[in-house]
């Protein structure tokens, strides 16, 4: 086992999610690689500290307080609630997205029709402008978000 593979497995090892064979291979790797073993110990300690995070009890009148708010404020059901991971599922959201998409297409068309003039003035190449010129660097191109992060970001909503 090499260090890259070992690093991938450490997190699951801490959670007792590895097969017996993987555990055996990982432990053998730890005997040969002090760096990976050290990383394992540190991650294990961080998890242990987090597991001891102080807890707090709810006040005894919590349920009554919520029910009073619901009654006194005449709370209506069916408010706009966004579900985690389903932002794009509702019809309204799809309409907003469609409008946004049309706006982007229209803006891009306008830009690419007029872009060369702007770029010639700035002395930049045409290829380096485009969407980035109009919108600034979007989240995909942000320096702190790589391809993997972007995939994760998208996967949060799809």
């Amino acid at each position: 086992m090499n260090c890259n593979k070992a690093q991938e497995l450490i997190s699951q090892y801490i959670d007792n999610k590895l097969s017996a064979q993987s555990v055996s291979e990982l432990q053998k790797h730890f005997e040969e690689c002090s760096k990976c073993k050290q990383d394992y110990i540190m991650l294990k300690n961080i998890k242990a500290v987090l597991s001891k995070t102080p807890k707090k009890e709810l006040s005894s009148d919590f349920t009554a307080s919520v029910m009073n708010k619901i009654k006194n404020e005449n709370v209506k059901k069916d408010d706009n609630v966004v579900m985690f991971g389903s932002f794009f599922n509702s019809f309204k959201k799809k309409m907003v997205m469609a409008a946004g998409f049309l706006f982007i297409v229209a803006s891009s068309t306008f830009f690419f029709m007029h872009g060369p003039t702007i770029n010639q003035q700035n002395g930049d190449s045409y290829a380096s402008s485009g969407m980035e010129y109009y919108f600034g660097y979007n989240s995909y191109y942000d320096s702190d978000m790589d391809d993997d992060d972007y995939e994760e970001y998208i996967s949060m909503f799809c």
Binding site: Q7, E8, S11, Q12, I14, D15, K17, Q38, D39, I41, M42, L43, N45, I46, K47, A48, V49, L50, S51, K52, T53, P54, K55, K56, L58, S59, F62, T63, A64, S65, V66, M67, K69, I70, K71, V75, K76, K77, D78, D79, V81, V82, M83, F84, G85, S86, S143, D144, E152, S155, M156
Partner: protein, 190 residues
Amino acid sequence: MEDKELIEKIIQGQEDLFSIIIDRYKNKVFSIIYSFCGQTSDCEDIAQNVFIKIFKALPKFKFESEFSTWMYRIVINETITISKKKKHNIVPLDINNSEDEEKSNLIDFLKSNDNTEKELMQKETQKMVQEALAKLKDNYKMVLTLRDIEDYSYEEIAQMMNASVENVKIWIFRARNRLKEILTEGGNLK
């Protein structure tokens, strides 16, 4: 009475029965909020608002999944949303401002293979780990809250966050490594 039967009756107008739903889930919901929001004093208010959101959303529940799965997705979304809105009120947490000796002690502690339970619960260690946790991206912070603090399984977290188990594993792996970087190198890395 089962959740689904309760929800049907609440939707039909027996709104007082929602108190049973609150009693059934309030401790777990509050615990997630309290852990994610860094043990701030207004967590109970946030939890109340989250339950009101759930009540409002009940007619949207399609009875296609477990009620608890559907409910926890609202809890997680609302917790992240409210936490983002309140971020400007939270005192900035900065490992870099900790004393050199404290940082050095923390690194020694993390490298040690025989820490006692007392050492794990030490106030200063807890504070520094919580500070580092607060620096993580929301989805990383949430998966670690659910896995390491609240002790939910990969499968439960995947359902709660509407993600695949594989994605959850990757998020946990990256979140832990990022947390280690912040704690050992002061959070100046990507």
